[in-house]
């Protein structure tokens, strides 16, 4: 390298140390806040995450649409590249991994024999009809493969509503008899941490992972969801709540009231029945459905595709011909 290059290089190196360290601490502080802790706890989280080895994550895809993985790609704190290069070791994930076929299978076998253990994340439901032939990976049914991978894991996270409760393919009449991870693994005595949502907010995933690494299992509600993120209803935290309290409801989507941001309750909003942090965590760091004028469809509730549907009307009219 010539002298100029060396100069550029030294400067870049200094920048790199500063910037990435700053980003990392910012991320830890953000996580601390998301976990309901003081921001000053960020430094403690940073120390816990800066161990010699990165914790291994094995990410499996079942009957799903990959929307949860896409949601993870939208992470900002940390960026996805920071997550997989500096925070965890993503040892298996079919959507992004370089290896394919036999080499991918070998990577999975190596990961689940890791003496340091691994966390298993499952996105998607598990088809069980006819022994599970409706979903196969490498000639093995998802049911058999996931049982093997989750059975040996230090902890299991069900990523999204499909993994948590069966999701879209489990909606009536559930043609492939798809079930959630918790239901599938019950015979093994494994209860996953459920992170429902369609998709789940990636912030909730990162917060859960950090909690697992620093403080162990988070406190869960009766549906297996971390109370940190799913402790309140969307309705309770909704920015349009003052309109609800005053009885100010938009009657139609074309009305002046809809234009003025009034409550969407009478247009089918399921916020009062839905436990999630959308109004405070936001999606894509910029908005969430109700802010954008779209009623909540209750996507983090078990069975919402049937029980909270039809979505096109006030829930009090639901009985008519649901």
């Amino acid at each position: 390298m010539n002298a100029l290059a060396q100069l550029v290089a030294r400067r870049a190196e200094a920048d790199e140390r500063g910037v990435s360290r700053r980003d990392f601490l910012k991320f830890c502080g953000m996580v601390a806040v998301a976990m309901g802790l003081e921001a000053s706890m960020g430094a403690q989280i940073a120390r816990a995450l800066e161990g010699k080895k990165k914790p291994s994550v094995v990410y499996m895809h079942g009957a799903e649409c990959t929307g949860c993985t896409e949601a993870l790609l939208r992470l900002v704190d940390p960026y996805f590249d920071v997550l997989i290069m500096e925070v965890v070791s993503l040892d298996y994930c079919e959507t992004v991994m370089a290896a394919a076929g036999h080499a991918a299978h070998a990577a999975l076998q190596k990961a689940i024999r890791n003496p340091d253990g691994y966390f298993c994340v499952i996105e998607g439901a598990i088809p069980t009809r006819d022994g599970g032939v409706y979903g196969q990976v490498g000639g093995q049914t998802m049911l058999s493969l996931f049982t093997e991978v989750a059975g040996k894991a230090k902890g299991v996270i069900a990523m999204g509503s499909c993994a948590s409760y069966g999701g879209i393919q489990a909606a009536a009449p559930n043609p492939s008899r798809a079930i959630g991870v918790g239901a599938a693994l019950k015979p093994l005595g494994i209860a996953p941490i459920n992170l429902p949502g369609c998709p789940p907010n990636p912030v909730n995933f990162v917060g859960t992972v950090v909690h697992l690494l620093t403080k162990g299992l988070p406190d869960l509600d009766t549906s297996g969801r971390p109370k940190l993120f799913y402790g309140k209803t969307v309705h309770d935290m909704c920015e349009r709540r003052p309109h609800f309290d005053k009885g100010e409801f938009a009657p139609t989507f074309s009305s002046q009231q809809a234009r003025d941001g009034w409550c969407l309750h009478k247009l089918g909003c399921r916020g009062p029945w839905t436990y999630n942090n959308c109004p405070t965590a936001l999606f894509n760091q910029t908005t969430w459905p109700v802010r954008s004028g779209a009623p909540c469809i209750g996507c983090s509730e078990p069975g919402f595709w049937d029980q909270l549907a039809p979505f096109n009307r006030d829930v009090r009219e639901k009985g008519d011909d649901a």
Binding site: A5, A9, G67, A100, G293
Partner: protein, 549 residues
């Protein structure tokens, strides 16, 4: 690596870096593929699930066919229902939908190239040997953008730290590790691509954020409904300005980095521009004028053979789906309105049934759909921007027109389409902004659901022509059918045994190392497979209904 040319079978299962579950099976003779079978490995049954539900609710359900081309199924469903009602959404709503669809397509192309495809060409480990100053010079030359050497030095240092730590994570067992004869980029070229891989992770997040301003969230939009869109909040000046800033930033990356990286690829891998051929091309029209509903910016059609200059208009009545090689009970080929399906899993048998996918055919022939099909149809019609940009890419890579019909051609077409679409977005955004400035904008219109009707929605989505077909009875969904791009591209053989687009394209592919068949991945990935979309296909409108056990 094998000492002599390989003869035998190669199965890649799972194919990774795609959406969904796919198995590829090929027969190789003297190092060249002479037969291929594409097998989709998941069945979900979304069409039966929406049966009996309110038509205006269906878009929520079918959107979950796919979280990658998220929103396209929602939009196509809304179009099918609006078509059935004879309804036209307000022009401003159509503009918002254009902006959502355009940012989705560009986002998808970008993630596809960098995060699903580039590791088939880029040896990340080899980038550690690069001289960052030389790499910066190269990057500046191909991208037309001043790339500071320090940026590349930082990336290289970060990669080195990552590799030295010994946990390769998502790069473990990559075909390129330890060297592979089919990976031929120089260390500097590898560094440029690796740096853009990381940068593109951040750029895609921003395009998705831009989309979410209108869509309410990404993935899975919530603001598009039958009747229009609901995002009044996004029409405020500061929100439009936020969109514009994100858009401009992403556009710069696409016009320079993405474009430059395809030049590197085309120059260094001319042989990949000579295999991966298919025969026929088809796509639908989209981005119609929001006022008139005419003059699509993407103009559909059919191109038979490689007869540039002879494009045919598309006739949707000529679409049929064949069942005989999928895991379904046999039946005659049928138009989507008349489809009959009865799933029947019988195990994997390439000489018989071997996929959960059905086999759509146009006039009985397999056609490729997607960005390459769209650009070839536009090129064939002499549409100026496409011709100029496709020819510029060919010239920069010293390739010929025939090289467009190839694996790299398919990948370059996505880049060209992204550039063209991003340029067009500005006009739609300006139009929307002018309307918003002029006063309250109508973005939603009330409608009445008919008791009996049928309708179809067409959409030119990331991976090709998507169509949804709905029959409404007693105001409810009586029948719902989706014919999706990845079924066209990656389905099995038809009743006459004619291979699908991807099966055709694999024949003739070289395989240098049967244990690490990267050439197969290159071609399969060049279609950007989206299997969740293609395997839910269950036509609920036939005489026989789903067999519930």
């Amino acid at each position: 690596m094998a000492d002599k040319a390989y003869t035998g079978r190669i199965v890649v299962d799972p194919v990774t870096r795609i959406e969904g579950h796919l198995k590829i099976d090929v027969s190789v003779k003297n190092g060249v593929v002479d037969n291929a079978w594409s097998s989709t490995q998941l069945f979900r049954g979304l069409e039966i699930i929406v049966k009996g539900r309110p038509p205006e609710d269906v878009h929520n359900y079918v959107q979950r066919a796919c979280g990658v081309c998220t929103t396209t199924h929602s939009l196509t469903s809304i179009r099918a229902v609006e078509n059935a009602m004879g309804f036209k959404a307000p022009p401003a709503a159509e503009l918002v939908r254009h902006l959502i669809l355009a940012t989705l397509i560009v986002h998808d192309h970008l993630v596809h190239f960098y995060h699903l495809h580039s590791l088939d060409f880029c040896d990340v480990a080899n980038a550690l040997k690069a001289d960052p100053v030389a790499a910066a010079k190269l990057a500046s030359e191909v991208s037309g953008r001043d790339v500071p050497p320090g940026d590349l030095f930082v990336v290289q240092g970060r990669l080195k730290k990552f590799v030295d730590a010994g946990q390769l994570g998502w790069l473990d067992n990559a075909y390129f590790l330890g060297g592979h004869p089919a990976y031929r980029l120089s260390p500097e070229e590898n560094l440029v691509l690796a740096a853009n891989y990381i940068e593109a992770l951040r750029v895609q997040m921003k395009i998705a954020r831009a989309m979410a301003i209108f869509a309410g969230k990404n993935p899975h939009s919530q603001t598009m409904r039958v009747g229009g869109v609901t995002c009044y909040e996004a029409l405020r000046p500061e929100r439009l300005a936020e969109f514009r800033a994100l858009y401009e930033e992403c556009r710069t990356f696409i016009n320079h980095n993405y474009l430059g990286d395809l030049t590197i690829l085309g120059r260094r891998y001319p042989e990949v521009a000579s295999y991966g051929r298919t025969t026929n091309y088809m796509d639908f029209s989209d981005f119609h004028d929001p006022e008139t509903g005419k003059d699509p910016f993407f103009r559909g059609g059919v191109l038979w053979g490689h007869a540039i200059g002879k494009t045919e208009e598309l006739d949707p009545a000529q679409i049929q789906e064949h069942l005989s090689r999928g895991w379904y009970k046999p039946g005659p080929p049928a138009h989507p309105y008349d489809g009959v399906t009865d799933p029947d899993y019988t195990g994997y048998d390439p000489s018989g049934h071997y996929s959960w996918s059905k086999a759509p055919r146009y006039k009985g022939e397999a056609v490729e759909t997607g960005a390459l099909a769209r650009r070839l149809i536009a090129y064939s019609r002499g549409e100026k921007e496409t011709v100029t940009r496709m020819d510029a890419w060919l010239a920069a890579c010293k390739l010929k027109q025939e090289n467009l019909f190839s694996t790299v051609g398919r990948t370059a077409a996505r880049m060209v389409e992204s550039v063209i679409l991003m340029n067009r977005v500005q006009g739609w955004l300006n139009d929307l902004e002018d309307r918003a400035k002029a006063g309250p904008v109508e973005i939603y219109r009330e409608w009445t659901m008919p008791d009996e009707a049928r309708g179809v929605g067409f959409c030119a989505v990331t991976r090709g022509g998507l169509s949804h077909w709905i029959r409404i009875e007693k105001g409810k969904t009586a029948n719902y059918q989706m014919v999706v791009p990845s079924t066209w591209n990656l389905g099995p053989r038809c009743d006459k045994g004619k291979p699908s687009a991807v099966e055709q394209s694999l024949m003739g592919n070289p395989v240098l190392d049967p244990d690490r068949p990267v050439e197969l991945l290159r071609t399969v990935h060049s279609f950007d497979p989206c299997i969740a979309c293609s395997v839910h296909v269950l036509h609920a409108g036939g005489k026989r209904s789903f067999r519930i056990l």
